[in-house]
Symmetry: C2
DNA sequence: ATAATAGTGTCTGTTAGACATTATGCA
DNA sequence: TGCATAATGTCTAACAGACACTATTAT
């Protein structure tokens, strides 16, 4: 029986220059050596307990990121997607604050606006588009976008993040009502005094939502 | 590098005795020979163009079903889930009308109420529960349950199907409004005269939704 | 006529979205 | 004091859910 190549790939998303962006890495081996692609690698049956662990390992090795929000996206497979042969890629997506990438970022890493991507090796463009679409639709009724922000943030910053991810403006009152329903935030007690106006309350994610989404039945918009 | 076992499994769902049910098949090989489990098999790199095709092949071989609603559920992986070694299973779920299974059903097939399952080989119980949960939540805002019905059906039968899948009653007026919004049905022109009362209009799925879901933003319930 | 279900009209409470108003800091 | 943004109050239109009523067949 012809062997099947088993890999994991990670769509690592963050906010950069006010846009939803993906981290790409220069490949040092064939195929597509020298080109930028999603971070990924073979599953190591000896080292990885599960594919999820393999994805964590890949992220750790390429970016130093250790505890991101990480979720399985889908599995891509087939004879034609990798020139080396019939392959399976279990794809995960991660959301991290930009600051985390700035600390660990290496010179072979590139952060690109997801809406400006034109081509990527393998079927990675398809994969990124699917991941973005998943994140956008899930943001409508969940806490997903908070994982793009640092530990503490104002409601204004959070709303801006939602608007960036979803690509459309959101009503302020509706937004705050929805955040109340999600019940995932707690005020830090501190105020953000970095602007020349009324300071905003700083919030953080409640502990129980650090790796688990909060969701509502009714979407953010109509 | 230790090789990884690559398989596909299918959660084949249908309505039986008024309950959401799953088709299980007697295993003729070890491990778990003689026990009933999800239909599945190794990916054949020579025969299958993609894992989706492998899932279709498995379904065809075990049940004769050729063109079901089929969607990828998730991929399960790890060292412990299969005694033969580190394995990856790309899992799909399918929805088919019971009548289709009655035609092709073999003696090693068993249809079981998903809420009555107590144990299954491998991690198949987890998998079925995840599939059921996915189907239930997706039914709230999509046309998914129609794939459990035969080609023609009344709105009453469709509502009953939704209620069975979601496990709770639905308001008739709300239900019909939602079906209007989904805009996926067309009247056949025929009436269902099988009952001793006012006959109901028969509907069928519009062609464009035979394998594609129709969805609404607002859920069926509040 | 009666039973039984199909199908529709209408009212009400809830909620999203729009708009307006008040609050609170800095320059 | 003026300006900018935070935070909240309030009105309205849309909609889900409940209920009632009408329609249409077989017996």
């Amino acid at each position: 029986m012809t062997p099947v190549i088993c890999t994991v790939d990670v769509v690592l998303l963050t906010l950069d220059k006010g846009a939803l962006s993906v981290a790409l890495f220069k490949r040092d081996k064939e195929p597509f050596a020298g080109r930028h692609a999603l971070p990924g690698g073979f599953i190591h049956a000896e080292a990885d307990k599960t594919a999820f662990d393999a994805a964590l390992r890949v992220l750790k090795d390429k970016t130093g990121v250790t505890s991101p929000y990480l979720e399985q996206l889908a599995t891509y497979s087939g004879a034609d997607r990798d020139p080396r042969g019939w392959s399976v890629s279990i794809v995960y997506f991660a959301l991290v604050p930009k600051a985390v990438l700035d600390i660990a970022g290496t010179s072979d890493m590139r952060i690109e606006n997801v809406d400006a991507l034109r081509s990527l090796p393998f079927d990675h463009l398809d994969i990124v588009r699917t991941a973005v679409s998943r994140v956008r639709s899930k943001s409508v009724y969940s806490s997903l976008p908070v994982y793009l922000l640092p530990k503490e943030f104002t409601l204004g910053e959070l709303q801006e993040t939602y608007e960036t991810v979803m690509g459309e403006p959101v009503d302020k009152v509706t937004f705050r009502r929805k955040m109340d329903q999600l019940a995932m935030l707690e005020p830090t007690g501190e105020l953000d005094r970095s602007r020349p106006n009324r300071p905003a309350q700083l919030f953080r994610l409640k502990k129980e939502f650090r790796h688990t989404l909060s969701t509502v039945v009714r979407p953010l918009n109509s």
